[in-house]
């Protein structure tokens, strides 16, 4: 039975002066120290006793974590410490990464999104993370500082299980880069939850698509699913059908069915596996249909 503390348990707050110092401290205190950004996952887990860290290492503001910048060549680089609202409010994000902006607006509440970060959402690696799908479909790559210096972690291979990633003790995610999406792209995020806003996803469906003359269908469709597998899930088999067959109602229905068949949700207090599967099918169909309509309108 859940019986969280009234407040946060005793912890030490550490604000290191440099990345090296932060990384060394985290590596030396593996299992009892944790980096944090907004803290919106961290504080909740500490309070309810699920996490028992002794040290919280504040990595916001360290080199490269506090800025967000857009470059027409390189795309968008979001510093780890940048709160979701700041990203969502950027005109460049609304113009070039509308799927990300849409996904952000479904997370928690406005005031929570002033603390919550996209990189925190990713590092937390909850299958329900709302912004992860969009970041994956835009081809997001994390920049990580670790014992061996800086490395890149493409999101497609980053997640290992609920709360599990390629990050090792001492690793600090610095920023996320999203390359500029191809011309003519259209996206849609549909979240099924109990309340209309503010709830965690029972199912989340992200779709991104753009014209691609090299494909038989003429379009490239990308699909990511939230809350229906141990990790944020891509559905390559459905994407393949949409690349190879003429896009119409039947093809969309087929792809949606494949999405449903390829996920492996669990029953939990938010929803049953059965409902989740059905919603994956229905919402994938809905998202694909809406995206398809926009693509054809644009064409």
């Amino acid at each position: 039975m859940q019986n969280p503390h009234p407040g946060l348990p005793e912890i030490e707050y550490i604000k290191p002066a440099s990345l090296e110092e932060a990384s060394k401290f985290l590596a030396a205190h593996a299992g009892e120290a944790r980096p944090f950004l907004g803290g919106t996952d961290t504080f909740v887990r500490l309070r309810d006793g699920a996490w028992k860290d002794k040290y919280l290492v504040d990595v916001k503001g360290l080199d490269g974590t506090a800025q967000v910048s857009f470059d027409p060549e390189k795309g968008l680089t979001i510093g780890a410490g940048v709160a979701m609202n700041r990203v969502e409010a950027m005109p460049e994000v609304r113009e070039h990464y509308p799927l990300l902006a849409e996904a952000i607006r479904t997370v928690a509440s406005y005031q929570l999104r002033n603390r919550a970060t996209i990189v925190g959402n990713i590092c937390n690696a909850s299958p329900a993370g709302d912004t992860i799908g969009a970041c994956m479909l835009y081809g997001g790559v994390l920049k990580v500082f670790g014992a061996d210096g800086v490395r890149e972690e493409p999101l497609d291979t980053f997640f290992k299980g609920p709360g599990k990633t390629n990050l090792k003790p001492g690793d600090i995610a610095l920023s996320l880069t999203l390359p500029l999406p191809p011309r003519g792209h259209v996206g849609r995020y549909i979240k099924v939850a109990r309340n209309k806003l503010g709830d965690l996803a029972i199912v989340g469906v992200s779709v991104l698509a753009y014209p691609d003359a090299t494909l038989a269908s003429g379009y490239r469709f990308l699909i990511a699913l939230a809350s229906v597998a141990p990790v944020p899930l891509r559905v390559p088999a459905a994407e393949k059908v949409l690349a190879e067959k003429t896009i119409d109602e039947a093809t969309i229905a087929e792809a949606a069915q494949i999405a449903m068949d390829s996920c492996s949700p669990i029953d939990d207090v938010r929803g049953s596996a059965q409902y989740r599967k059905l919603m994956v099918r229905n919402m994938t169909r809905r998202a694909l249909t809406e995206v398809w309509q926009k693509l054809t309108q644009a064409a």
Binding site: Y13, F43, L56, S109, Y110, Q111, L112, N114, K196
Partner: protein
């Protein structure tokens, strides 16, 4: 557990406070500064009763460590009225009847003030969206929405 000495501005007043590592901004306001207008309804970011303005943007003060606020500018419900003159939003919520038990009210006022600051003429959907993280069990919300519309002049 370590203590940290921080300075910050709260409702325009400079404060110097010693805070333990695990103290939240909410606890500091209530327990160290005696600013009890900001309420604790869940301590986990869900209810919005603890909403305050941090550097001009609303946050759940139960989801911010006090030590993170070194150098920050904080505005609480106590800071909305100026020289005994209520903020128009406070006047409006009185007029529309958007207050019953009043426990959600401080957080609601901060969330909606912040909305009006960033968007003086929000749509009804934007108002509802902006306060969707503030739970109210008494009013049914529509009178709160009316109050924001009134200030925005969009009713």
């Amino acid at each position: 557990m370590g203590y940290h000495r921080i300075t910050l501005t709260v409702n325009g007043v400079m404060e110097l406070v010693d805070v333990p590592s695990n103290m939240t901004l909410l606890q500091m306001l209530r327990e160290k500064l005696g600013l009890t207008g900001t309420k604790n309804g869940c301590a986990s970011g869900e209810c919005g009763a603890c909403t305050v303005m941090l550097n001009g943007e609303p946050v759940n003060s139960c989801m911010v460590l006090a030590v993170e606020c070194d150098g920050a500018d904080v505005v609480t419900v106590e800071g909305l009225a100026k020289n005994g003159q209520l903020d128009p939003l406070q006047e409006a919520i009185i007029e529309t009847g958007g207050v019953q038990c009043g426990f959600c009210t401080p957080g609601i006022l901060i969330s909606s003030r912040a909305l009006l600051n960033r968007k003086p003429k929000p749509t009804e959907f934007e108002i509802r969206e902006a306060i969707s993280g503030n739970l109210c069990r008494c009013t049914g919300y529509n009178r709160i929405v009316e109050a924001v519309k009134k200030v925005a002049g969009t009713e």
